[in-house]
């Protein structure tokens, strides 16, 4: 991949960010606000996900580095497996059963990363590969999302609460928690808007409990998205990635959702604000799309790459079978990233306008 040499990210503007180890640690740090928001709104499930994923990912990483005859400790210390574990733990539904996490970590680390040659050689984002494999294989477990704390407290006369830590552990390891009242799971805001059943957006917002505590998007998820936005802005400020891909993704999502908003009729696909702050939008924009290995690397290429992901996210959310689409959109564009780079080769200084790789 010779084009990687010209303009490879991360761009080391400051000496402190010169190693992948530092970059990975910054990314881990930047996920903290999002993890706090997830735990605040949905209970301890995400934390359990992250702890278990870290354990499994590091074990698989060490075992397969050993099998490949590499220095396991050296490669584990770059924290890339830990970042994959964090991203996967955040992406998976809280209170996912432990075996789901094992399968996910196996696909992320072994199939999507080590089989392709380890860090820097994976054409696909490992966490997203694992997410899609799990979503296709275990649709029941992968669509069991918890109801957020704000909505739960707004429901009067319903005996339901978020799982506490011991109930959460029971859920993860045995699949059911006897002391936990039913009704801690619900359709996510994206799901509710997708299955609008002919109601207008205003009617949905009035009738559906998930919007009881919503300020501008959907219960719980709006705060999670704001938290990931903050984490992403921190990474941008630190120069871990450039603004092109995430901004392009958010802008194209904004434009498309504005185009199909139509004022909130029964055919509306949801307001632009709703799409920007629901599901995995911000998490995807700042933590998945910016993956330096599997994304496009030229500046113009990053704009195209991000914009296409934003468009795909909206198209699948609006007309696809799944309520959210960041994982599918990212994987589809990972396929396209080498082609985007091929056609957006930057002009070398002192040479004529780039021929864009085309033979004239």
């Amino acid at each position: 991949m010779s084009f990687m040499k010209q303009q490879s990210s991360p761009h080391a503007h400051s000496a402190r960010l010169a190693t992948s180890n530092n970059v990975m640690q910054q990314v881990l740090l930047a996920t903290v606000p999002g993890i706090v928001a997830l735990s605040w709104n949905f209970g301890p499930g995400t934390l359990i996900n992250i702890v278990l994923c870290s354990l499994f990912c590091l074990s698989f990483e060490a075992a397969f580095l050993k099998l490949r005859g590499r220095n396991a400790l050296f490669y584990i210390k770059d924290c890339s497996a830990l970042v994959t574990a964090f991203l996967l733990g955040i992406a998976l539904p809280a209170y996912a059963p432990w075996w789901l996490l094992v399968v996910g970590c196996f696909f992320a680390i072994v199939v999507a990363k080590q089989l392709y040659g380890g860090l820097g050689y994976n054409p696909f984002n490992p966490a997203m590969v694992a997410y899609v494999v799990l979503l296709i294989s275990f649709p029941v477990e992968m669509t069991r999302w918890a109801l957020d704390a704000g909505t739960l407290s707004s429901l009067s006369g319903v005996d339901a609460a978020l799982p506490n830590l011991s109930q959460a552990l029971q859920l993860v390891f045995t699949g059911h928690a006897p002391s936990l009242a039913d009704g801690w799971t619900a359709a996510t805001p994206l799901d509710v808007v997708k299955q609008s059943q002919g109601l207008t957006l205003d009617q949905l917002y009035q009738n559906q409990a998930i919007f009881n505590s919503a300020v501008f998007a959907g219960g719980g998820w709006e705060w999670v998205n704001i938290a990931f936005l903050l984490g992403g802005l921190y990474l941008l400020y630190k120069g871990v990635f450039t603004w092109h891909a995430p901004v392009a993704m958010l802008v194209s999502l904004l434009l498309l959702s504005a185009l199909f908003y139509d004022g909130g009729s029964s055919a509306s696909k949801g307001s632009p604000l709703f799409h920007l702050f629901s599901g995995a939008t911000m998490f995807g924009a700042f933590f998945i799309v910016t993956d330096p290995v599997s994304s496009a690397v030229s500046t113009k290429g990053r704009l195209i790459y991000g914009a296409c992901i934003g468009a795909l996210v909206f198209v699948i959310r609006a007309w696809g079978n799944y309520p959210d689409a960041v994982a599918f959109a990212v994987l589809l564009m990972n396929f396209a990233a080498p082609f985007i780079d091929y056609y957006t080769l930057p002009r070398t200084y002192g040479h004529k306008k780039a021929q864009s790789g085309r033979v004239k």
Binding site: V111, V133, I136, S137, F138
Partner: protein, 235 residues
């Protein structure tokens, strides 16, 4: 006899149609969701391969080089149609499950490849044996992929074997992980076929590398110095 040994080794391992030549991937990936499907299609392919190899070997001196490929394709198509009718008669349910992939045996490059590369240049018996071994090699790979995908995807092994072997075979089914197994759906879907096939190819290459290494390690070094020609080899 050593020719037959060579043919067996080629068909089953060294030149395996599925793992080395990577021919006939379409049925390989499409119908290996379970053992019974794999076995059904493997047997059908093997029957066509043996039949076409025999026929091509018999006519090899009568057909001119210029029109040999159309002739081979006609022969293969007739054997495929015959096999299809037989399956329709005796294993109707399986015939319906395999559907389009039975007529598609015609397009399996492994069959035309063997007809052109071997049967058109060799006499009857070696050609028939080559067809048998190539078909067997293809079928064994189909079976391995089918077994792995069925175990991972459904948790069972040898389910619905009665489609092929009559009612008494319906009790052959094994439930490996108990009734609570959820099924790893990706294994039954097309990506699973690619993953399992890749895994098998990797295992085969790994075994080959291991054997080569062992052979290199066990090689007896000839004592005494040996002059090395640096200007090329003299034949």
């Amino acid at each position: 006899m050593s020719e037959y040994k060579e043919l067996s080794l080629n068909g089953l391992w060294k030149n395996n149609p599925a793992l080395v030549q990577l021919l006939g991937l379409c049925p390989l990936l499409a119908v290996t969701g379970s053992v019974v499907n794999a076995l059904g299609l493997g047997l059908a392919t093997m029957a066509v391969l043996i039949g076409s190899n025999i026929a091509v070997s018999l006519i090899r001196n009568a057909v001119s080089d210029a029109i040999r490929l159309p002739a081979f394709v006609m022969i293969i198509a007739s054997f495929t149609t015959g096999t299809e009718l037989l399956m329709q008669a005796f294993t109707y349910e399986l015939y319906q499950i395999l559907g389009i992939f039975i007529p598609l045996i015609v397009t399996n490059c492994a069959i035309l490849g063997r007809a052109d590369a071997y049967a058109s240049k060799n006499s009857l018996l070696p050609s028939a044996f080559d067809g048998l071994m190539m078909g067997l090699g293809f079928m064994l790979v189909l079976l391995a992929i089918g077994a792995i995908r069925e175990v991972l995807g459904a948790g069972s092994l040898f389910a619905n074997m009665d489609l092929l072997f009559g009612a008494s075979a319906s009790s052959w089914e094994l439930q490996l992980f108990g009734a609570n197994y959820k099924g790893f759906l990706v294994a039954v879907l097309p990506p699973g076929a690619f993953l399992v096939t890749g895994l098998l190819i990797a295992i085969k290459n790994g075994v080959d590398t291991y054997i080569e290494k062992r052979a290199a390690a066990n090689k007896v070094l000839v004592k005494g110095s040996k002059r090395v020609r640096t200007t090329g080899n003299v034949a």
